[in-house]
Symmetry: C2
Subunit: 268 residues, 2 copies
């Protein structure tokens, strides 16, 4: 499995990915799912991959070759990010179709999904999610992030924190927390975590992190998040019947039933 | 879709469920997914349902009829909770098999899953998850909760908070937060939220809640959780490069790259 996400903000873009691939529980490997393409000061792209590893690698090879060959259509030639997504969609569909029938018969899937983001010149930075069928979507003013792979465990924290004006550092931390929650709940998502924080108009990559499981910052962050969540949790309004828990422990009987009161008392 | 969960603790059991069912986006209804069976002071059961509504209802009818008919095997006759789970598994499989072939041909699924929990006499309270095929699992000393339906969005908070010694009130709040996170991320999970907090050895149900979307306590809880999560988040260790963000806003250039430092500074 895989978990990758990208976030688009007023200040720039954040990309993050795990590094675990598996074909069954006994065939687990480490592969980077984050790839960058940079024509410094002209255009930058980050590509995140999920799904069939052979398809992902084939797509990646074609992207590189098209750049080398100065092909008519390549990441170096496309006019805008949406053209880049359309180009990626086309080669993804083509690579998938080469093996789809054989793999489906064997009970496998040739599907791969991608997140492609970056900036071309002074255009607005954008991120796109490209599906196995080659179609693609981007973000909206309300939906500021895209995810591929095991996306559910890590979504609630993004839903709560991310808005277009969120500072890059906060968004990057939120991405780490999102991936950490996912790694906790699904063992097929694993470290190292790779992250790129791209500042709007930089047209180069300044902030790249690769955090191993024992990385000091990651461990600090996990510990702090775990502590803070517990405190956040302890601070929630109590149910009415909890006030009487003390007396229960002295042997008396709880008698309250039904809905909590309007102003639940704090825990004593 | 559906989201139901049950938690087993030293102090008792917590059950919670949403109430939305849907067959396509234009056929959304409200159905309780929580059912109780009580022989006061002798045995209590809570049944949570997910999956095909016809199968769930058929299973529920048979459970009720077996009790009415004083059948040889019923929730009133079974010796332990695991026997109750085996009984439920058998009728679930039987009801599913009646319609499985026809439904599968039509592109639907007759599958239903259940969580069954409760206490019989002075036996230890237990919870079981019963699969569509009739087999079942219970909890362990490390895995204190079971989920059916849309389980992923709400799992990380349970993973962080729930342990066997967690007080009932905390576990109940955690269940609400877990369902709230799920409702936020999946519109096919919806209110009212039903909850039962069962105190070990009570052998009756004292705490039942049914919280509508506009319930005052639920709104207080959601607001408090949202605020607390934001604070928990603001309090996390910063990346090294964030210290220089202020100067960037005064026009200077960020130059830091790579991994965060050992002791990230707090945000200024």
């Amino acid at each position: 499995m895989t978990y990758c996400l990208a976030i688009t903000l007023d200040d720039g873009l954040v990309f993050a990915s795990d590094s675990r691939t598996n074909a069954g529980a006994d065939q687990v490997s480490m592969y980077s799912k984050m790839h960058t393409f940079e024509l410094e000061k002209e255009r930058v792209f980050v590509l995140l991959t999920a799904g069939n590893l052979a398809t992902s690698q084939a797509v990646l090879s074609r992207i590189k070759r098209d750049i080398e060959d100065e092909a008519e259509e390549s990441l170096h030639s496309v006019r805008g990010l949406s053209d880049a997504a359309a180009y990626l969609g086309r080669i993804n569909r083509e690579e998938r179709e080469k093996h789809d029938e054989t793999l489906t018969k064997a009970g496998f899937s040739a599907d791969a999904s991608f997140i492609l983001g970056g900036q071309i010149g002074r255009q607005t930075p954008e991120i796109y999610l490209v599906y196995p069928q080659g179609n693609f979507i981007t973000t909206s003013s309300h939906t500021r992030f895209l995810q591929i792979g095991e996306s559910k465990y890590g979504k609630p924290i993004l839903d709560r924190i991310i808005a277009r004006e969120t500072p890059l550092g906060d968004a990057a931390r939120c991405a780490l927390v999102s991936i950490d929650s996912t790694m906790r709940s699904n063992v097929t998502v694993g470290p190292p975590i790779e992250m790129i924080v791209y500042e709007r108009d930089a047209l180069t990559f300044e902030h790249y992190l690769c955090l191993d499981a024992d990385d000091e910052y990651l461990m600090d962050l996990k510990r702090a998040w775990d502590d803070n969540i517990r405190h956040a949790f302890q601070d929630l309004p109590r149910f009415d019947w909890e006030a009487s828990r003390r007396s229960r422990h002295r042997g008396s009987q709880l008698t309250t039933t039904g809905k909590p009161g309007k102003k639940p008392g704090k825990k004593s």
